[in-house]
Symmetry: C2
């Protein structure tokens, strides 16, 4: 190798490091994206801001994800997470849904893409409404493997409504009794509401 192909330490170093660790960059970008979307909502968060938080270039984010929308969808918890919750005895599905929701939100509501998209969709931002629907459809597909009957669609969407209402009260507005109660109490109340939405 000639001297030309071995850049000196300094300016070129960050670039080489990024190239050597694309998976590490991907995780950094997704973390930064979750934080930016949750803080600013979908519409107001920018790819430039996300790149800056992740310490990479705008161009790298666009090469890895293609668009802000694709980046958002990559940052949303996947269908695999939902499938893991749905899988099991349908009788105890409400317990599993409530436990998974509380566990996820108590740990990461500040960076949860659901919160981000609710904030944006509430302001009637058209792209956010589309993303919101894309998220729900993906989730609904998993539930409909176990929720059957002619009103299955409605029941799965009512489950979404219950979770959205609780998310709004506890994690978005964050004032009042639902926001103040312990995670354990929340889980117990939510189990009952989820059962009512899906089965009663």
């Amino acid at each position: 190798m000639s001297q030309q192909n071995t850049p000196p330490d300094g300016a070129a170093e960050p670039r080489r490091r990024r190239r050597r660790d694309p998976e590490g960059n991907r995780d950094l970008i997704l973390q930064a994206a979750r934080a930016a979307f949750a803080e600013r909502g979908y519409t107001r968060a920018t790819v430039r801001d996300i790149a800056e938080r992740a310490g990479v270039t705008h161009g790298l984010v666009m090469r890895q994800f293609g668009s802000k929308e694709q980046l958002f969808l990559a940052a949303v918890p996947g269908t695999r997470d939902v499938d893991r919750v749905v899988d099991g005895d349908p009788q105890t599905l409400p317990e599993r849904v409530a436990a998974a929701y509380v566990d996820r939100m108590e740990h990461s509501f500040r960076t949860d893409p659901l919160v981000a998209v609710l904030r944006s969709a509430a302001s009637n931002e058209h792209t956010a409404v589309g993303l919101y629907r894309a998220m729900l459809d993906r989730t609904a597909g998993s539930y409909k493997q176990v929720i059957t009957g002619e009103d299955a669609d409605v029941r799965v969407d009512l489950l979404a409504a219950v979770l959205i209402g609780v998310t709004f009260c506890r994690y978005i507005v964050g004032v009042g009794p639902v926001a103040r109660m312990s995670p354990q109490h929340l889980q117990a109340h939510l189990t009952r509401l989820v059962r009512s939405a899906l089965f009663d």
Copy 2:
């Protein structure tokens, strides 16, 4: 009376008409306010825009209501509406709550202040969060005359969460099965969820 005290038709006419009908103006302003708040959210709606929609001056709105916040609270359905729903057999309270909600929202969700304040509160606008809490506290006071027990606060707030979630899905985002179902179906499903929130 001298000629001076009888202004000619024309420029001064609208002013005289307004002075003669303060109650009519009040209703016009409240209607305009509901429409403006619902369309633009609490924060983005302006008193100037509301005055223009109502065909009155900015000064008249401020003289009658004092501030945008006071105007908003005057535009919100009053505690009398809630008291009328709460009054009666507690066993059938869920039916009455669901029927009153569906009736109110199906007829006027485009100008409902709940929709306005949810939109604004979702964007984390501090004034809107305060108004949202003021609205809920006012409502909660009525419910707590009939919902008792140590977790009454939580149950009334869970009812709010359920109604907010359905409002979000059906009237704010307006896509999906909960948005598409008939008012009768909505009322039946909602009765069940309200019962679960308040009593089960």
